[in-house]
């Protein structure tokens, strides 16, 4: 049980999702056998090393497509039991407006849930940028955790073990992207997991699932037909590369004004 003490609970949760999901019937076909075994409650038979070898998750964001509807923000909160009314977000959407005087104004009211239409004259360009945990290759958050409660899985996702986290908040300070928060009810660190409980079952992360414009693209990079690789062949950027975190959310057409 080196990795993922929370495995049973997310698999259980995942089970419920499968029953409820419209896409479940097709998605189940994509699930590796080892995970199906786990779904039957037979946790010990899951050979995670083997599972991880078959997949390397990738996330891309096609910034030009985002319309700022923030359905992803809502879906994420619902899927992951993040209190809807609290100012905590696993994912959020930012609106950028470059003014004629060169100033950039940025906002994300309610994480994007409370955007109001803007029709301003002095704006030269305007766009939306969705944000989420970058599942960094070199995550500072896991490095600083005093008890090793936050860790990186073999298929490239950073998770928080809710049974080990002491709630010190050091990881929140260490993340350069503001991706982490203290769960107001559970009193442990929380953040986007790319819906790990869903993706290991072959489902898409909730935000990708609901995005009506195809801004958010997700896939298994080990699968030659995945939708992410074509985007990676385009011109892409990552957030704050100078931090040395090697973020793994890739943004197509990332504007230099994005923070």
């Amino acid at each position: 049980m080196k990795h993922g003490m929370d495995r049973r609970s997310f698999l259980n949760l995942g089970g419920k999702v499968i029953i409820g999901s419209v896409v479940s019937s097709t998605a189940v076909l994509l699930v590796p056998n080892s995970i199906k075994a786990a779904d039957k409650g037979d946790n010990d038979t899951v050979n995670w090393e083997q599972v991880w070898q078959q997949q390397e998750w990738g996330f891309a964001i096609d910034t030009k497509k985002c319309i700022g509807c923030a359905r992803c923000v809502k879906a994420c909160k619902e899927e992951n039991s993040v209190p809807m009314d609290e100012e905590v977000y696993r994912t959020w959407v930012e609106r950028y407006m470059q003014k004629t005087n060169g100033q950039m104004s940025i906002e994300s009211p309610g994480g994007g849930l409370e955007f109001t239409p803007r029709n301003e004259e002095d704006v030269t360009k305007s766009y939306f940028v969705p944000k989420l945990c970058n599942q960094c290759n070199k995550p500072p958050c896991t490095k600083v955790c005093p008890v090793g409660a936050t860790y990186k899985t073999g298929d490239g996702v950073v998770l928080v073990d809710r049974k080990r986290c002491v709630g010190c908040g050091y990881c929140i300070q260490a993340c350069p992207y503001g991706a982490r928060f203290l769960h107001p009810e559970l009193k442990v660190a929380d953040k986007c997991t790319w819906c790990y409980h869903r993706i290991v079952k072959g489902l898409l992360p909730a935000c990708v699932q609901v995005c009506p414009t195809g801004t958010r693209v997700f896939g298994n990079l080990a699968d030659p037909d995945n939708p992410v690789t074509p985007i990676l062949k385009d011109r892409i950027g990552v957030l704050k590369p100078a931090m040395g975190t090697q973020p793994r959310v890739f943004y197509r057409d990332l504007d230099q004004g994005v923070v």
């Binding site: 994300s108 490095k143 600083v144 955790c145 005093p146 002491v166 503001g178 442990v188 931090m243 923070v259």
Partner: protein
């Protein structure tokens, strides 16, 4: 600066308890260093306060982990930091460093007071006698040869204690200084700054405890000792403030992308506590302390000036802790804005529990000085039985 802060940054996570945690450990480290100046570096003029400095260090050390503990989202899991430490985490060392240091200080206090304990055990009766007997741990041999051995051990502990104190506090600075995501914290100078300000606060605390306790006990202050404390306080304060300012100046001069927001932090978000740190906590005391050492000034005057400066320094260092801990979190990691901090009265590491936590070590110190009078150098008039003292006091 209105600006933009990430939605998850609207709440400041490390609040007043995390402000006083480095403050208290700093006082411990500083007070301990004073005792080492006496023991290890042979600064005999500090003799009147060396026992007091250890008891002070111990009182604050006992309280040091409490604010951290209460700060945790899951306090019941606190010991995970010791059972399953993550070797790459700066914070993971806390339990071990703290534990080690606590043992060193406890041992040193015990060895220093052992002779007294034996004496009190013989002089008192009833519960007090049992208590003192227990505290001697059965080691009642006070022959000259054992006492000589005690002194050797004390010296060894004092020597070990210096790197421990340096580690304990330098490491706290590292916890902040090594967070690259935070433009205000991230600095290799941070451990040194924390250490120097720790020593400064510890000396100031000790000077104040010494003058105030002497005042209430109606005892004469040892002039040499007070002026020595004054001198060390001045020197360390100068070094601390120079490094603190160097850090800010360098940030201003380099003017990286993050400087505008750091500048706004100083100007708009924490101007008051920043002024407290620089003027009340350093500039004015530096002048007052110098005046106090001027030989044209009466001793009474220099007593008041040194005490006042010490109080100001203590306020200044507390402000500095606030400016670092809370200030750093006000700066959005977007570098585009400042978030706000609203301290509450009770809830969420509020002001009142914070004051209570700061007062607790003072209470412990008051009790401890009753049980183990540390007023060395005036043994004759102090070693009455503790009961008698209590009667006189009440």
């Amino acid at each position: 600066m209105a600006g933009y802060v990430f939605p998850n940054e609207l709440e400041v996570h490390w609040r007043l308890f995390v402000v006083i945690y480095p403050y208290i450990t700093g006082l411990v480290a500083g007070a301990f260093i004073v005792s080492s100046l006496y023991h290890v570096f042979g600064k005999k003029e500090l003799k009147p306060v060396f026992r007091l400095s250890l008891v002070t260090a111990l009182s604050f050390l006992l309280v040091a982990p409490l604010p951290l503990l209460f700060h945790l989202g899951q306090p019941l899991r606190a010991f995970n930091i010791m059972w399953t430490p993550n070797p790459t985490s700066a914070m993971a060392g806390f339990g071990y460093i703290y534990g080690f240091y606590l043992i060193v200080v406890l041992l040193e206090v015990w060895f220093i007071f052992r002779q007294d304990l034996v004496k009190y055990a013989g002089e008192t009766s009833g519960a007090a006698r049992i208590g003192y007997n227990l505290l001697t741990l059965g080691a009642k041999d006070v022959s000259e040869s054992t006492l000589a051995l005690d002194r050797k051990i004390i010296n060894a502990l004092a020597v070990i204690g210096i790197p421990s104190a340096v580690l304990l506090h330098g490491y706290v600075g590292f916890i902040f200084g090594a967070v690259k995501a935070n433009a205000w914290w991230s600095s290799p100078l941070q451990p040194v700054i924390f250490l120097l300000s720790a020593i400064v606060s510890g000396i100031a605390l000790l000077a104040l405890v010494y003058t105030v306790s002497s005042y209430f006990r109606g005892k004469k202050i040892d002039r040499e000792c007070l002026l020595a404390l004054n001198k060390y306080l001045w020197a360390f304060l100068l070094a601390a403030i120079v490094l603190e300012q160097l850090d800010v100046m360098q940030k201003a001069y380099e003017s990286r992308a993050t400087w505008p927001v750091l500048h706004a932090l100083l100007e708009e978000a924490i101007p008051v506590t920043h002024a407290l740190q620089i003027y009340v906590g350093a500039a004015i005391p530096l002048v007052l302390l110098l005046i106090a050492r001027w030989n044209k000034v009466s001793f009474k005057m220099s007593y008041w000036l040194t005490s006042l400066s010490s109080l100001m320094v203590l306020i200044g260092v507390l402000s500095m802790r606030f400016n670092v801990v809370v200030g750093g979190q006000l700066v959005s990691k977007s570098s585009q804005g400042l978030t706000e901090f609203h301290p509450q009265a009770f809830a969420g590491e509020g002001v009142i529990p914070t004051i209570a936590l700061l007062a607790l070590p003072v209470v412990i110190l008051a009790v401890m000085t009753r049980l183990l009078p540390p007023w060395s150098g005036e043994e004759q008039d102090v070693i009455t039985t503790p009961e008698k003292e209590t009667v006189v006091a009440s």
